[in-house]
Amino acid sequence: MTPRSVAPALRAMLARLRRATRGGLWRVSVADRSMAPAILPGDWLLVDPTVTRWPRRGAAVVFREPGSEVLAIKRVVARPGDWLRFAGGWLRMGPDEAWLLGDATDDDLRAAGSGGSIDSRRYGPVSEERLVARAWLRYAPLRRIGRLPAPPVDLHLRSAASPSPFAPPEITPGEGAAPPRP
């Protein structure tokens, strides 16, 4: 490896470090377990607060929770313009809205002694002005350092058959496409 090839990587690393120390990346710790198993209580994450739009579906985001105004972390399940199956009908996200859910199933949470995840099933679509940051990587504990794992594949389809309007929804990616007729 020549010094010439090392230099750009080193420069990029330094740039990232500068951004981090200037507040370009935030360090946050996680409380509660509604994002288990991907993100666990006690995890230390680096999050990018420079995002201004809802990131892609499946990304974990930090936002100000409607009602309580505390900083919460959940996963983007539907983005602006997406349709989602909800309460026996279809719900369309507004131009700045996202549907945010926790990863953990209610059964898993109950087994861990908690109630259900508090997310869009409770407070509805979340507007973009509440978006604070996008979760980027975990830097502690050492054993699980690295990029955050993707959501479980069947994440939000698992109880679509449930008659409850609070059941996790089915998603149809948006861009103005009309939902299929039931």
Partner: protein
């Protein structure tokens, strides 16, 4: 190590929120607040003092908000999807009762508050039909 970890430690906490339910539920809680709104409306009719009226309205709003809160906790936390089999109109009961609370806020008619009590009693019946008294109250309370 401790200096390093102090330097690396996060400055902000984010919540992957979930409920931490105490497992105690009873529609009585909502009913007591709803009874307050009824009694306030009755007292408002009997006293025209401006300061009294202002206070009464303020307290009625407050109690009505508590009714909504207690109803919501029952709806979100006590009732589970499987209860819908026993009480198919569950969501309608809560929807209508919460709408009625809004009506009571805007109203000075005792009939509106009485109607709210009836709706809470229907929810109480649903709570009883799903085993609420045995499962979600501590046994041994004097009758």
């Amino acid at each position: 190590m401790s200096r390093l970890s102090r330097w690396l430690a996060p400055t902000t906490r984010v919540h992957a929120h979930c409920d931490l339910p105490c497992g105690i539920y009873d529609p009585e809680q909502a009913r007591i607040e709803a009874e307050s709104t009824l009694r306030i409306i009755e007292k408002m009719a009997a006293n025209n003092d401006a300061a009294f009226q202002t206070r009464a309205i303020h307290i009625k709003e407050e109690r009505a908000d508590l009714v909504k809160h207690h109803l919501d906790v029952l709806w979100h936390d006590y009732f589970k999807p499987e209860h819908l089999e026993k009480v198919p109109n569950l969501h309608e009961l809560f929807w209508n009762a919460n709408k009625q609370v809004s009506k009571v806020k805007a109203s000075t008619d005792a009939a509106d508050a009485k109607r709210l009590l009836e709706m809470i009693d229907e929810i109480d019946a649903a709570w009883k039909a799903t085993g609420g008294p045995e499962k979600t109250r501590v046994a041994g309370r004097p009758g």
